[in-house]
């Protein structure tokens, strides 16, 4: 879920087809998260599962710094436990519901949800056999506050815990290395025997979901700071496996073997079938596809980290919902975590009618075709994606039911005439706009479509490609960015509290549209702190609708992705929790 910079980079490493570009899609039917049924053969205990990665290394292995859905799922299923985790299930609801992991239950809030307590299970140990203590969890959580050392990870610890801010707005606690403000942290997080209690600065009704992210124990004596988890400083496991070796670069491997001290009784979630996990780095994506298609020898037990190359999709799938007979039970097509959109700087394009005209004029059909057609994704009607669960409701954008659409269903290929009408309403001539995108061949073609379709409505569009690896670091600076550009976002857990606030408030961290509206901030705050989950859902749905009413961003596509596995590995489904393989349940077949 989570869109971190690491995710972006991985996308670029693959090349053009992924990442930012990937953004689009549309058309067609909604897609379930599971493509095809299981393979023959019963689960076997033992064997090795190979995870083929096109990357040269893990983005992060440090439990406080991992922030990519697939990585959270992999490490969560093997070596790193958190207070709560998600259930393994292909079902969208079941697979996104939290269950107790290190803790004995899913947490006990106080009445106002400003204080949450978790009690650790007995018998949970580190790989050397010593018990995982409350202090270990407390220390692990504290590491996130050392923002200059423990970076790139989730930061809900900093955002939610009841620790005052320093003058510059950052937390007064600077983490366990500098120890500045350590007393403040010790007040907010307390250990009482095996029970850890978090005091929060405001009500967080879904804090038991929050603790799936980075609320993992780290033993102080194991911590090497910056380098923790990297080769030479292997992360210490409290899960069913442990790291035997890790090398990076092409040809690099991470090998996980069984953790002999792992106590099955303390872990109701993980099935623990294979004896070994081997992650193979630096596999060329085209070669990877061919290996998995052939599925010979070790590749029978291999699964794909990354996506199937576009040119192979027709071999494997008949459509985004069905595999060909040959690949039944081996391939998955489903929603990836991300909703794609074009951010619009609301300071540079202040008139709502102009922003609406931009969306109306956009030829989303041609753009989706450019990035892979139906396999790339569905047309988006907002920033909340259907696979989030209860927080999603149709905004009506695609049905023409919004007020300003006046009942006209805007066609996928755009409506220049309606756009012109909207521009006329603004009382000013259509402006000149600059479009930013990460410079890849596919994106460049997309940009050409954006330009031509918006110019049909009277806009003048300048395209401004940016160096792919640097894209986000540039567009966050309004001085360097244009009026609008490509982006994408995925929820951190099945609550739109991880979508709306980051995208549309200054504190959120992903406010590319540069919104800072007091009324909106209040409404977001109210939704975030609403302890009535059903009521909260309603508020998120309303806010999502407000987004498309105001066109703070121009929704484009709900991304789909496709992955492939060898013939003798299972189960084959997309775990809704992270849009990933269900690592903790995976097995080889005889």
């Amino acid at each position: 879920m989570v869109r971190s910079k690491a995710w972006l980079l991985r996308g670029f490493a693959v090349g053009v087809a992924f990442a930012l570009t990937l953004a689009a899609c549309g058309g067609g039917n909604a897609v379930s998260s599971q493509a095809s049924g299981g393979a023959s053969g019963a689960p076997k205990t033992g064997g090795t599962i190979y995870l083929l990665s096109l990357n040269q290394q893990w983005d992060q292995v440090d439990p406080q710094r991992i922030y990519t859905g697939e990585d959270l799922a992999f490490f969560g299923g093997t070596i790193q436990r958190s207070l709560t985790s998600y259930k393994y299930s292909a079902d969208a609801k079941e697979g996104t519901s939290v269950t107790a992991d290190l803790a004995t239950d899913t947490g006990k809030p106080n009445a106002t949800a400003t204080e949450w307590s978790f009690t650790l299970r007995d018998g949970v140990t580190w790989q050397d056999g010593s018990p995982v203590t409350c202090e270990d969890v407390k220390y692990g959580v504290s590491r996130t506050f050392a923002t200059d050392v423990i970076n790139q990870g989730p930061t809900y610890q900093v955002a939610y815990l009841d620790i005052p801010s320093a003058k510059d707005g950052s937390s007064a606690y600077k983490g366990p290395y500098k120890k500045t403000g350590q007393d403040l942290y010790d007040k907010a997080v307390t250990c009482n025997g095996n029970t850890i209690t978090f005091k929060l600065s405001k009500p967080v009704p879904d804090f038991n979901y929050t603790v799936t992210l980075g609320f993992s124990p780290v033993r102080k004596s194991d911590d090497t700071g910056e380098s923790y988890g990297q080769p030479g400083h292997l992360v210490v496991s409290d899960g069913p496996y442990m790291v035997q070796s890790y090398s990076i670069g092409n040809g690099g491997k991470m090998v996980l073997v069984r953790n002999p001290k792992w106590n099955k009784a303390s872990d109701p979630i993980r099935a623990n079938y294979p004896d070994t996990w081997e992650v193979d780095f630096g596999i060329d994506p085209k070669v990877m596809d061919q290996r998995l298609i052939a599925s010979a020898g070790k590749d029978n037990f291999a699964i794909q980290y990354g996506n199937i190359q576009p040119e192979n999709l027709a071999t494997i799938f008949t459509d985004p919902e069905h595999t060909t007979a040959q690949f039944t039970g081996r391939a998955v097509s489903g929603f990836d975590p991300y909703a794609r959109y074009y951010w619009v700087n609301v300071n540079k394009v202040p008139d709502v009618n102009v922003r609406r005209a931009m969306w109306v004029a956009l030829d989303r059909q041609a753009i989706r075709l450019n990035i892979g057609g139906a396999f790339a994704g569905n047309m988006a009607d907002g920033v909340i994606k259907p696979n989030i669960g209860q927080d999603y409701a149709s905004t009506g954008l695609l049905d023409g039911s919004l007020d300003w659409e006046a009942g006209t269903k805007v066609p996928d290929n755009g409506d220049p005439d309606l756009a012109k009408t909207l521009i006329a309403k603004s009382g000013k001539p259509a402006p000149t706009l600059t479009f930013n995108f990460a410079n890849t061949p596919t994106n460049a073609k997309t940009a050409a479509i954006v330009k031509s379709s918006l110019e049909k409505a009277g806009f003048t569009i300048k395209v401004a490609p940016l160096e792919a690896g640097q894209y986000y670091s540039i567009v966050f600076d309004p001085k360097k960015s244009g009026e609008f550009g490509t982006a994408g976002w995925g929820a951190d857990w099945p609550n739109a509290s991880t979508v709306i606030p980051p995208l549309f408030t200054q504190k959120g961290g992903w406010d590319l549209s540069q919104l800072d509206d007091a009324t909106l901030n209040q409404a977001v705050d109210a939704a975030q702190t609403d302890t009535d989950r059903a009521d909260q859902s309603k508020k998120w749905q309303d806010l999502n609708k407000q987004v498309v009413e105001n066109m703070w961003v121009l929704p484009t596509f709900f991304g789909l992705s496709q992955t492939l596995a060898g013939k003798k590995v299972g189960p084959i489904y997309r775990w809704p929790a992270y849009g990933s393989w269900p690592y903790g349940q995976m097995y080889t077949m005889p």
């Binding site: 869109r3 971190s4 910079k5 690491a6 980079l9 670029f12 490493a13 040269q56 290394q57 922030y67 923002t147 200059d148 050392v149 970076n151 790139q152 990870g153 989730p154 930061t155 955002a159 510059d168 707005g169 950052s170 290395y177 500098k178 911590d223 090497t224 700071g225 910056e226 380098s227 990297q230 080769p231 030479g232 400083h233 990076i248 670069g249 092409n250 040809g251 690099g252 630096g282 060329d284 085209k286 070669v287 061919q290 290996r291 052939a294 010979a296 940016l466 160096e467 690896g469 640097q470 894209y471 986000y472 670091s473 540039i474 966050f476 360097k480 980051p502 959120g508 961290g509 992903w510």
Partner: protein
């Protein structure tokens, strides 16, 4: 000759200095903010500032550069605030936070792979390219010549990633003649080393061999028209001596230059082959560093590969002087 050598070495040092300055300034002028990249989402200006400080990017470029140069001669320390500060001994080319590895160590790990890749491919293409080229020249206009030039044209027009994928698909996946490439040092496991390297060698050699076939053929034919070849024949030398001692000696001299530079270029890393065959060489290291905006690593690799190429240029020029006496005096 000695004076020439000294002049060239001094020039090389000056060039490297200018290059290091250029690389430093250029990479610092790039749009984008490495500090922002390290910070992921939910990034506040404070965090960015802290990261900028941690990366040493808050200092003026000049200071960063002098620190870098100091590191090369005296070593330096990174992450002084961390529980385990990183001590980087001289010659220190910097520290890659992305790989959590010293830049020099990363390069030292990758360099042997690229070295073997380049040298193996080089030997194949030189032997095949030059011998085929000579054969074509000696049989100019015959079917031998036409066949060789035809092969050269095909080799020349096939993109290396295409040849690579084709070889992997057939040799490894389809027919299982070789295991999947997995690099080991030739000293640890020579068999696996050869099994891993043979296909990438072929891929790299095809394009260059095709080029060298043409180059050699043209060179030899050109030399055959030279007056001193006629003199050699007029002396009554056997044709074999005329070809080998007189024609090839002169005809292959320009090829030495080309080959030396091509080898040097390859020593900087072969991106496509390394990636297709999953080889942890300098090319894949460079790609990774660029994708991750890993400035210290990019700087280090750029400087090291530039040094290789500049050094190779020097070697080629010296070699040329050895081969061609006319160059020596100047």
């Amino acid at each position: 000759m000695a004076a020439y050598l000294v002049r060239r070495v001094v020039g090389m040092v000056v060039l490297l200095f200018l290059l290091s300055v250029t690389v430093f300034v250029l990479f610092n002028l790039l749009p984008g903010d490495p500090a922002r990249l390290t910070c992921g989402k939910a990034c506040t200006p404070q965090i960015i500032e802290a990261n900028r400080h941690r990366l040493g990017l808050d200092q003026p470029v000049l200071t960063q550069y002098t620190n870098f140069v100091k590191g090369i001669f005296f070593g330096r320390t990174f992450s002084e605030d961390s529980p385990e500060p990183i001590i980087c001994h001289a010659p220190c080319l910097g520290y890659s936070y992305n790989r959590h590895q010293q830049v020099l160590a990363a390069i030292a790990d990758a360099a042997p792979v690229t070295f073997w890749l380049a040298v193996g491919a080089f030997l194949i293409w030189i032997v095949v390219g030059i011998s085929m080229g000579i054969l074509a020249a000696l049989n100019r206009g015959s079917w031998v010549d036409r066949t060789i030039m035809g092969i050269s044209l095909i080799g020349y027009s096939m993109p290396s990633f295409f040849i690579g994928l084709l070889l992997i698909f057939f040799v490894i996946i389809r027919f299982n003649w070789l295991p999947f490439p997995s690099y080991v040092s030739p000293f640890d496991n020579p068999i696996q080393f050869l099994q891993t390297m043979i296909l990438p060698w072929i891929v790299l050699a095809v394009l260059n061999a095709a080029f060298y076939m043409r180059l050699t053929r043209n060179q030899v034919l050109e030399v055959f028209g030279d007056d001193y070849i006629r003199t050699a024949r007029a002396k009554g030398l056997p044709e074999r001596v005329v070809v080998v001692k007189h024609a090839l000696r002169a005809g292959l001299t320009p090829i030495v230059t080309a080959a030396g530079l091509d080898l040097a270029y390859l020593l900087g890393g072969a991106i496509i082959s390394e990636n297709i065959f999953n080889l942890p060489g300098l090319g894949s290291l460079a790609v990774g560093s660029v994708l991750n905006s890993d400035l210290p690593l990019i700087t280090g690799i750029t400087l090291v590969t530039a040094t290789i190429i500049i050094f190779a240029n020097l070697v080629v020029d010296l070699l040329y002087a050895v081969i061609d006496p006319r160059v020596r005096v100047g």
